[in-house]
Amino acid sequence: MLGKTANGLFWMFRYLERAENTARLLDAGLRMALTRDVISAEEEWRSVIQASGQADAYRAKHGTYTGIQVWNHILRDGDNPGSVREMMRQVRTNARLVRNAISGELWSVVNESWMQIDGVLARPVGQGAVGEVIALVRRAGTLAHGAMVNSMLRDAGFNFANAGTFVERADNTARILDMKYYLLLPSLSYVGTTLDSGQWDQVLRSVSGDRAYRWLNAGQADSRGIVEFLVTDERFPRSLAFSHMMLRANLKSLAKMHGGEGESSRLIEKSCEMLGELTIERVFDLGLHEFLTGFMRDNADIARAIADDYRFLR
């Protein structure tokens, strides 16, 4: 496979994952804002912007944090290169670039999703439509992954696509946790205390983990439980441990196909080993924020190493 093609697949799925996670984040914010008073709703929208990584761009244009302003910025603002519309355009552009490395089924769901999303995001999104738009974006992710699993050849391309998905997912989950770290674990004395149910509900919803968490924990929520669930629980498909476990499996398969392990293999082994031994006390010793920052940095290093090992660009 061409290095350029591997790069295209990797980024196609990174952008898809990011768009989908951004939609989840908005969804959670929307729900939160509806159940709060005006002042705390503003605060929620501010944290949504923060977690989406678009705080600076937003502040440059707006002084207040109203829902309609925030979701239009995140979904479709023409000056926002990280808008969902722009990310979906990137998904489609990369899909065109790797058109001969993906199945026709995958291409057509991506193309159709883009046409729909581009259509609804051509105009400002009002209160009545925002839920539908979010659902459309999430469905785009589900359809693409379904088409991929059902129809794509299990060769290197499949692994590069998955690598993109899980690098991005690990980053996004860490980012969402980081947005609320001060609420989840400001100090060790918080371990074991019961949290504001709205706050933890939002974090879980942002990663579509609210139901799974309730199922596993019979409705009990504390910092330890949530941090463990999102960081170390290998059963939950958006946890850091799961994301890196999957990334490791895909990198292993790539190393086997290419007859040798590179820097990316070494780094992912190290990360999985670290996550395997991780305890919540250790996270606290480091500080949750420091831990997450370090994790995101390591994750970015792995992405860079993949690009180097497999000649994405040179």
């Binding site: 290095g3 350029k4 591997a6 552009t93 058109r99 291409w107 057509s108 193309n111 000649r311």
Partner: protein, 475 residues
């Protein structure tokens, strides 16, 4: 100007009776509900959009992907007509290859005085780098598109030979797929020759031209200028259908006397490069030094047998419009036979007598730039305004050797589906021809381009033309 009613209509004779080739289709058509057909017509557009069969158009503001309008009434050619056409096309394509070989070797045809030497001098399509070199398998034009027009029951003319990088074959294939998906029962009632094995034939034909240094199974790659090229869809489509890599200049590099592509496992040599990049951009070391689309040093590799480039560099010399006017002589010179397919009568404006005739009859003629393509830079006398003709006259007088002129042909028509039912529109036809050391293969079908504006003679997609599925009937 002739209205469509005066022209040869391929579906109906002047008395309104359906011609034999269209009998099966016409019967089916009459049985269909009009409302249902109209819904199908809209559905076709959605199919194309969803599949992403688009071409890129650039305006000053932004890039835009457009659809080439598709008309759902097929253009039908009978088995007998097709047999005659293929004989003529094969003869012409063999002559083209012999001609190009001759031009880059002994130039017998010039020595014999059949083609003037001045046509080579100052011709940008002429590549000195190709002199004395024979491409692998002796093939210059691996893929040719011959543009044909029709004016009567037995009157087909060659309008243009596309010997560089003819495009449009993806429309031939996708139009058929769309037709079969929309009207499956139609294909059970009318026997139509298949076109779908074109990509397989192309892959085989390219592999048969592997260079001397190729070891093992030839590795074929399609070279595209990139995702923003107007024909990118077709490049990706063909690579996908052939199971070949789709490469850009940046993926390629000369290593150890071979052109190699950067894969995730390192650099791997390419044996046959189906390039959709013009000669000028192919090798910044040999041609345009600013080109980012090509591969520095590829011409040296080529000349030392390390890679096959399809079509060969320098083939453009044969599809120049000034050369075109000599095609009857060229065919006769290399095949020893009279051309089976005639040219459209062509006045070379470089010739003073012809120029005078052309200037005197501008309102009746079509005048084309010798190096132009895509329907740009041409004058269609009968539909031009006086002012346009006056402006063109000045250009023509300033540089007569840049132009040729042809009579306005009474192009045949074929019906298109409109809201009010069937209505005749002008069409042309581009069959696709593959050349390999094993022979010449012509896929039974082709690209039918149709002028969607009533009475218009310009079928180019860049100027509002559409396409149709082209059927060659089984015997």
């Amino acid at each position: 100007m002739n209205g469509p009613s005066d022209n040869f209509d391929e579906m109906r004779d002047p008395a309104g009776a359906v011609r034999p080739a269209y009998a099966g289709y016409a019967q089916w058509f009459d049985e269909q509900d009009r409302g249902w057909l109209r819904r199908k017509d809209r559905e076709a557009e959605n199919v194309f959009r969803r599949t992403g069969i688009t071409f890129n158009v650039y305006s000053e503001q932004e890039a835009e992907e457009r659809l080439i309008p598709f008309d759902m009434v097929p253009r039908i050619v009978s088995a007998g007509e097709w047999r005659k056409l293929t004989k003529g096309i094969e003869q012409r394509v063999r002559a083209l290859n012999a001609f190009i070989h001759d031009l880059y070797h002994r130039q017998e045809i010039i020595r014999a005085g059949r083609v003037p030497e001045r046509l080579l001098r100052n011709n940008e399509a002429w590549l000195p780098e190709m002199v004395g070199f024979t491409p692998p398998g002796g093939v210059y034009t691996h893929i040719v598109g011959i543009d044909l027009v029709r004016t009567g029951p037995n009157d087909f003319f060659v309008l243009e030979d596309n010997a560089r990088t003819p495009s449009g074959v993806s429309y031939m294939l996708e139009n058929r797929e769309t037709m079969m998906a929309m009207f499956p029962e139609l294909f059970t009632r009318v026997g139509v020759e298949t076109v779908s094995d074109y990509p397989r034939k192309l892959a085989r034909s390219l592999a048969a031209c592997a260079p001397p240094k190729c070891e093992g199974k030839p590795r074929v790659a399609v070279l595209t200028p990139g995702i923003y090229n107007s024909a990118y869809y077709e490049h990706a489509f063909l690579a996908d259908q052939m199971g070949a890599e789709l490469v850009e200049g940046g993926d390629l590099r000369v290593i150890d006397g071979r052109v190699a592509m950067r894969t995730t496992g390192g650099y791997v040599p390419v044996d046959v490069l189906y390039r959709r990049v013009d000669d000028d951009f192919l090798d910044p070391l040999s041609f345009n030094p600013d080109s980012m689309l090509g591969v520095p040093g590829i011409m040296d590799v080529y000349r030392s047998g390390g890679i096959t480039i399809a079509n060969a560099p320098g083939t453009g010399i044969a599809d120049d419009k000034a050369i075109y006017s000599f095609m009857p002589e060229i065919v006769e010179f290399y095949t020893g036979e009279k051309p089976l397919l005639p040219n459209v009568e062509t006045f070379r404006c470089a010739d003073p007598d012809s120029l005078k005739y052309v200037l005197d009859n501008l309102a009746e003629l079509v005048v084309k730039e010798v190096h132009g393509s895509g329907g740009y830079g041409m004058l269609v006398g009968p539909t031009a305004t006086r002012r346009e003709i006056a402006l063109f006259r000045r250009k023509l007088e300033a540089k007569p050797e840049n132009y040729i002129a042809q009579p306005t042909l009474a192009l045949s028509t074929c019906p298109v589906f409109t809201r009010k039912g069937l209505s005749p529109r002008h069409v042309d036809l581009r069959p696709f021809v593959l050349v390999s050391p094993d022979g010449v293969e012509i896929t039974p079908g082709g690209l039918t381009r149709v002028a969607l504006k009533k009475g218009s003679l310009v079928v180019n997609s860049s100027q509002g033309g559409g396409t149709k599925d082209t059927w060659v009937l089984k015997d």
